[in-house]
């Protein structure tokens, strides 16, 4: 096991796959000579050259479409969209071309491409550089959506996404690239479907993904030590498809659920998880599930307002206490 950073894990997955298969390429803004805004492609340009590590112009719709077109012929592009906010410009190609081409061609064409993008509120980046957009991607037929919460997942999910014949969107987080964690020394493929029990518990299930897994883990610690509540934490690393079985299994055990997301509440992971709970195990519930989420505002610049807009582990603790009638 190597203890490496999230960005190093992503870089390693790129490097291994590019060394293995000459048709694996990567492309995006500043990923080559500059080494990547978050260093996720550091050193690859020097190793694989400009034909396979493509510094693109600032044309998200154009270069995303170009990567998708190349994938029709078996090229496996890893397309980095520097910030998920810019992905709006690429969504026509991602949704109308990549996600639909297999279906509308009756299975003849396929778009085995990977889209990687950093989302999330970082530090005072303002309304147009702080979006969380997983809610948009996870409702598109034909597109897989995964979101790593630690370096091991960041490495293993990218490895699997490159090998998979379906288009996969990988939602990363701007604040997590320097997070350290254990990654297996040998090759490791993280499943693109399912969920993980990040902490086992009996009284309530805290559902998180990406950064909110860490809020949930911290909240579980506090709940255990200060309130004697045993919380289970489920890591929903796959947002499309969501793990119906995993959600059902945990809620059937704990009978209570809190869903924590950095995204705004309307039309989000929280609403989907609650819908699944209703459909799969409604009569197992001892209390109505609760969502923890951002305020429905364009992200404010001011530090205090920004903090007020985004939830954290304390909000998760409060939600659980409310659920137990202790607040």
């Amino acid at each position: 096991m190597a203890n490496i950073m999230y960005w190093e894990a992503i870089q390693r997955a790129h490097d291994e796959e590019m060394a293995r298969d000459p048709l694996v390429i990567c492309m995006g803004e500043d990923i080559g000579v500059a080494g990547g805004t978050y260093k996720a492609t550091k050193g690859l340009y020097e190793k694989y050259g400009p034909l396979r590590v493509m510094d693109t112009p600032i044309s998200e719709g154009g270069f995303t479409g170009l990567g998708i077109g190349a994938s029709f012929l078996g090229v496996r592009p890893i397309i980095e969209i520097m910030s998920v906010n810019f992905a709006w410009l690429a969504m026509d190609q991602m949704f109308n071309s990549a996600a639909k081409v297999r279906y509308m061609s009756g299975g003849q064409l396929t778009a085995p491409c990977v889209f990687r993008s950093a989302g999330g509120a970082a530090h005072q980046l303002g309304a147009q550089h702080s979006a969380r957009m997983e809610k948009v991607f996870m409702g598109i037929a034909g597109l897989r959506v995964v979101t790593p919460s630690n370096p091991k997942q960041a490495y293993g999910l990218l490895k699997s996404a490159i090998r998979c014949d379906d288009p996969v969107f990988i939602n990363e987080h701007e604040l997590m690239y320097n997070m350290k964690g254990e990654v297996p020394d040998g090759e490791y493929f993280h499943p693109l479907e399912g969920s993980e029990v990040a902490r086992s518990g009996t009284d309530v299930t805290l559902f998180g993904y990406n950064i909110s897994v860490h809020w949930c883990l911290k909240a579980a610690e506090i709940l255990d030590k200060q309130y004697g509540i045993s919380a289970e934490v489920i890591d929903l690393y796959s947002l499309a498809p969501l793990d119906r079985e995993g959600i059902k299994k945990s809620v059937s055990k704990t009978h209570r659920a809190v869903i924590a997301e950095e995204d705004e509440a309307p039309v989000g992971v929280g609403s989907e998880v609650i819908a699944i709970i209703n459909e799969e195990c409604f009569f197992e519930l001892d209390a109505a599930p609760v969502r923890v989420h951002s305020a429905l505002v364009p992200q404010p610049y001011n530090h205090t307002l920004e903090k007020a807009a985004i939830p954290d582990h304390e909000d998760v603790v409060k939600a659980v206490l409310k659920l137990f009638g202790k607040a």
């Binding site: 012929l73 109308n96 279906y103 061609s105 293993g156 996404a161 493929f189």
Partner: protein, 333 residues
């Protein structure tokens, strides 16, 4: 073009014309649903370019007016018509419809319904060719109105920057849906817009197939020789409306008649007759044979083909699950 080639292409163009006219009829009879965009008037464009290229070898992509491009690449007209009928035997198994004809085996990479959407896809196909080192080229057929989308400019920039083997064919039919080019576009002659990207560009008559063929030969040679992209603008006209719900109120009948006097099929037919290569009677026989083929084989096949099964509704959304299990479950060998 050689006489024999001209005769063959005339036969193909008559098939393309009669196929489209039969689609019109089937639409009126409600055998075909959705949107239907027909090609009559523009036949010399697709045929002239593809005669200079290698159908089935070069990769072709286009917009939603795509039936004829697919057939020219080698798609079976029966499968194309069956697709319009929504049948399981259709070229996209009834999942695509008129705007999404595909034939992967013939390297017809599809019809797409977002105006301008195929531009970067074509450049990506060219990128793949470049990486794999083949002698194929990518050919992107789109209309003039697509050039007002942002991705047109984004794609031209990248294609020129990376010297990608892609030929952009602009079939300038003077209308974007129901808005004339003068009313939507600051520069009517599209090849002029390409100059800024340092991409060689040419414009020619799109009604006379021999003129198209000569211009396309130059274009295809340029791209296949590794010189990067090329842009060819063909001045043409669609006889019918943009789609079936179009009453053509935005243009005059006089203008339509003027264009019909330069019909691409009649130009080629009259030249062959003048050269003594065929007679008017031969042409009439050709039309009758074509109609009989369409009726007795193409329509019959489409009528008699089975519908897709409702149980297969979700088939083709993702790759076959069994083949992807190592990555979906993480249990890779």
């Amino acid at each position: 073009m050689k006489i024999e080639d001209k005769k063959r292409v005339l036969r193909e163009m008559v098939l393309h014309r009669r196929f489209e006219e039969r689609c019109y009829q089937a639409y009126i009879e409600r055998k075909i649903g959705g949107f239907l965009h027909l090609y009559p008037g523009q036949e010399a464009c697709c045929n002239g370019v593809m005669e200079a290229a290698r159908p089935g070898h070069d990769y072709v992509i286009t917009g939603y007016r795509d039936h004829v491009h697919a057939i020219k690449c080698g798609a079976d007209p029966k499968a194309v018509m069956a697709e319009l009928y929504g049948k399981e035997t259709g070229s996209s198994k009834g999942r695509g419809g008129s705007m999404h004809i595909f034939d992967g085996d013939k390297r017809f990479m599809g019809g797409y319904a977002l105006v301008g959407g195929p531009f970067p896809l074509a450049a990506g196909i060219a990128k793949a060719i470049q990486l794999k080192g083949g002698d194929e080229i990518a050919i992107c057929f789109l209309g003039d109105a697509a050039n007002n989308q942002g991705v047109f400019h984004e794609t031209l920039n990248m294609a020129a920057l990376w010297k990608l083997p892609v030929l952009f064919v602009c079939e300038n039919n003077l209308y974007g849906i129901g808005t004339s080019i003068e009313r939507s576009t600051a520069v009517v002659h599209q090849h002029k817009r390409v100059a800024a990207y340092n991409i060689p560009a040419d414009e020619c008559d799109g009604q006379d197939i021999e003129i198209v063929y000569e211009a396309a030969r130059k274009a295809v040679d340029h791209v296949r020789s590794g010189n990067g992209p090329y842009f060819l603008e063909l001045m043409t006209y669609r006889y019918r409306g943009h789609s079936m719900s179009d009453s053509r109120g935005y243009r005059s009948r006089e203008e339509e008649e003027l264009w019909k006097q330069r019909d691409p099929i009649f130009i080629l037919r009259d030249r062959l007759i003048k050269d003594g290569a065929m007679t008017m009677a031969d042409f009439e026989t050709l039309e009758k044979e074509t109609d009989a083929y369409i009726e007795n084989e193409v329509i019959k096949f489409s009528e008699e083909s089975p519908e897709p099964r409702v149980e297969d509704l979700e088939k083709y959304v993702f790759a076959d699950r069994e083949t992807q299990l190592p990555w979906l479950t993480g249990k890779a060998a």
